[in-house]
Subunit: 286 residues, 4 copies
């Protein structure tokens, strides 16, 4: 991890000759020093992907100037690009229901400085985790949800999120399905943890389904939320082996460790701007 | 692994007090020395499972006598039981199509003595792997299958299997679906390798489906074949991590290693009589 | 996991015929119902190991009566045995230095009921983690250690531990080496987490050593503390893959997740009385 | 994997501004199309590493011309570089002793086209594997080694290797230590498989040592051979979990699967020119 003040650029465009030379030439010409460059061509789709990080110390363009100066080159290659400032901490909201294990894990990582992120709020449809947010000094909003109040409560969620300039949302075992109203405002910016190795056991009670099927591995999957339940771009997955001796309670208990780890890795990749979403899949840059 | 002449007993029955004491008392009384005892109660179903292995050196019953002598005790506890002679090598038929990697893996393990098994035949719907069977001195039967000839060829397969007293069948990437005629003759005795972590990506072309979904892990599953495609009792599963850099060809290439390993572990467990099938799930004894 | 009131028995003795029958017969005769029996013979050493758990509901012996009644049978087979009451929560002390990640992980598991354990104290040679213990309502004892004060402070630790009837100690990244005075009082009852896959990289700064060697996997190991540094019986180990792109800081960050998981699994096994130590190795019962 | 005719360039040099721009500009100017570019800066040592692969279809330089044309740029940045032709199969010799599992695995991968490599010979100090090489149509040289004949036999090995223009050597469980005479001729071009997770259990009988220590994981490590036994740059490692129920024979049996997989992955990376050795460590490009 690099502590310098840096900028990060994501690019994707139709593949053709000379893209890397053109882009690195541009950065060089403006006196940036490339720290990381990870480039990839998807030959099935003929799409070029790149993430580049460079130091801003001697760079002679501001962020706004970059966008203007880079536009002609981007147009030449039909690029879509995103620019991020590496040093600027993102603002993350956490949604949680009753189960606190992911919340604890995230807040303790935040407190110890592992996650360079601001956490302006925890939102929950239950009050159970309120004391945990309080311990860590994070504002807690209890917004109970019933079929009748769901739409109204989501409006309140959106108001809180926008007021606090939240950049992205983490669903830390939030047991409500978000409506398109909310999902569409945060494209590729809502991270969910699902407690199965998707696409197996999508939907409710995956540990019970895994137990019933008699699988020998169980898993967890972090993904960006889209309009399709549990079908968004997968960020990270992991599994553990289970045995016939284990009960559903064992699956749930051991699965919590998976959920914590897999969700935290997804948050880390998101914070480091290592994720590019394309065609409902993720490119995870090194 | 124990080289002594042993007997292995599988038991399942409704759970109640005193089963272990009764069974071990019986073995003790007939002068058997218990080497391994693995016992397990499924509390969801209240079913007792046990595998026990004991030495036959001083045991005062033959296999036939055991069945008669043990019957009253089995009846008392409503047991279903199976008795195996540990030293008697099983007879295994291998079915293969065009891809040779699992076949090579199995035959080389057999040749080096890793698998204590007799292999009376390799059956294939293609001729591609004939030279491999020949190299290892295993009879190869080329039985091409078309929709019209399928039924007749399966009759021929059954004839060959029965003539050779085959105990169980390994589908080493055999790309034909077996009909109930064959499946029903070998219950819990046909082992298939499927190239996905089931239940995800059942059916055809799982690597392509995994690639399309953008998963971060791919897997392989060995299971007993039942009438439902890719839905039989799972024996063993494993996975590898994949990256966005990898193509479908990479998935296929790397997946072969998974398939070889997962299939071989299933064969090993079957040979060691460590698998008990109950309610479409496997109990894998230690 | 079983919620009934149970007793757990650990046995080891020279292997011979009839042990299982004798022990299960004894339990049966006193009206206990065996829930779990895991038995294992180490053929290299000819040693018999067994863990058995049975319900106390109808059992006609108290713990004290059991010891007396079982003694003749134990003597017949030269058994060493330990009896535990499954329902009685153990009392666990946590030692910690500056790094809080394992402490947070353990305390949050405790709070959510995952660990059925009493935690009467956190002891630290630094004050950094005091506020964490406080948040969870656990008494925190700050006992700074210098070469001069080490012996005296250890006496104070022992006083605190004994006063609180502590059953076992968890070193949750405690960066001091315990002296034999303390270690000898808690044989097989002090669990340490070492941040390497032992025996590789024993001693100080294992992540730095792993980085220097250029390994492709890093690990963590939980073990019981003995007089030999990092050489006690291993309870659990796990690893993650690392790449050349990662710095020592990445190893340390990602290693924290390993340490948390591996330490917690060791605590779980200890709490469940699934660990038997023999000849500086652990038998982990199922 | 890309089937086009390509060139691959490895570079390392002190890190400074503009390297990527300069190199990709050079390729672009000569009409090469960059397919893969993986770049990495080791900030501890301030060293820049890069692997780049580009198509030769329209490239206007031959290999020889490239070296001359690129030299000024290389000098400017104090680069060390290696150029490879992607389409040219390497020539690989296999050394083996008595155990055939890695040999079988490699030869069957070769036969099925997985490894784009020529195998002009198998060399062994025993005759056991002769029939395997023969089956696959590979010349087998039986060169028995005693302390007295070792030097002479190594001269014969070198003669055979040079006569056949061997590019690199795979020690597929070859149980002899190579002398510097041979090692120095093939720097970073002799791949060994060691049956432990190095640096743990270097030297002889690692499975026995792992068993004696009571580890819960065992591993295998592939590395380039250097003058220091088992201390060369690590290419790939992997592990499996083991239990107290397993004997040394189980470790050996299950370890074979690890050895096969880990060695084959190292060969694959070597064939793809994805490995750069620097300071006794490997950079594995994506």
């Amino acid at each position: 991890m690099n502590k310098q003040h840096t900028a990060i650029l994501h690019i994707h465009c139709p593949d053709q000759k000379g893209i890397v030379a053109a882009v690195t030439g541009f950065i060089n010409q403006h006196n940036g020093n490339v720290l990381h460059l990870d480039q990839h061509v998807d030959f099935e789709q003929d799409v070029f992907f790149m993430r580049m990080e460079w130091t801003l110390a001697d760079f002679d363009l501001t962020v706004d100037e970059f966008v203007t100066a880079f536009a002609p080159l981007a147009e030449t290659y039909s690029m879509q690009f995103d620019l991020f400032e590496g040093a600027k901490p993102l603002r993350m909201a956490i949604f949680v229901s009753k189960q606190p294990h992911c919340l604890y894990d995230i807040l303790s990582r935040h407190e110890t400085g592992e996650f360079p992120v601001d956490i302006p709020m925890v939102i929950s449809n239950h009050s159970d985790c309120g004391h945990i947010a309080e311990r860590f000094g994070i504002p807690f909003h209890h917004l109970p949800v019933t079929p009748e109040t769901k739409a109204a409560q989501e409006q309140e969620q959106i108001r809180l999120l926008e007021e606090a300039h939240v950049d992205f949302i983490v669903l830390a075992r939030y047991m409500q399905i978000l409506t398109p109203t909310l999902v569409d405002r945060y494209p590729s910016r809502i991270i969910n943890i699902h407690h199965s190795f998707l696409p197996a056991f999508a939907g409710a009670r995956p540990y019970h389904a895994a137990y019933a099927r008699g699988v020998k591995i169980i898993g967890a999957t972090s993904h960006y939320v889209t309009a399709d339940l549990d079908a968004g771009p997968i960020i990270e997955q992991d599994i553990i082996r289970v045995s016939h001796r284990e009960t559903i309670e064992d699956f749930i208990r051991r699965g919590r460790d998976l959920e914590k780890a897999v969700l935290s890795r997804a948050i880390w990749l998101h914070l480091r701007r290592q994720i590019l979403v394309y065609n409902n899949k993720t490119v995870l840059f090194g």
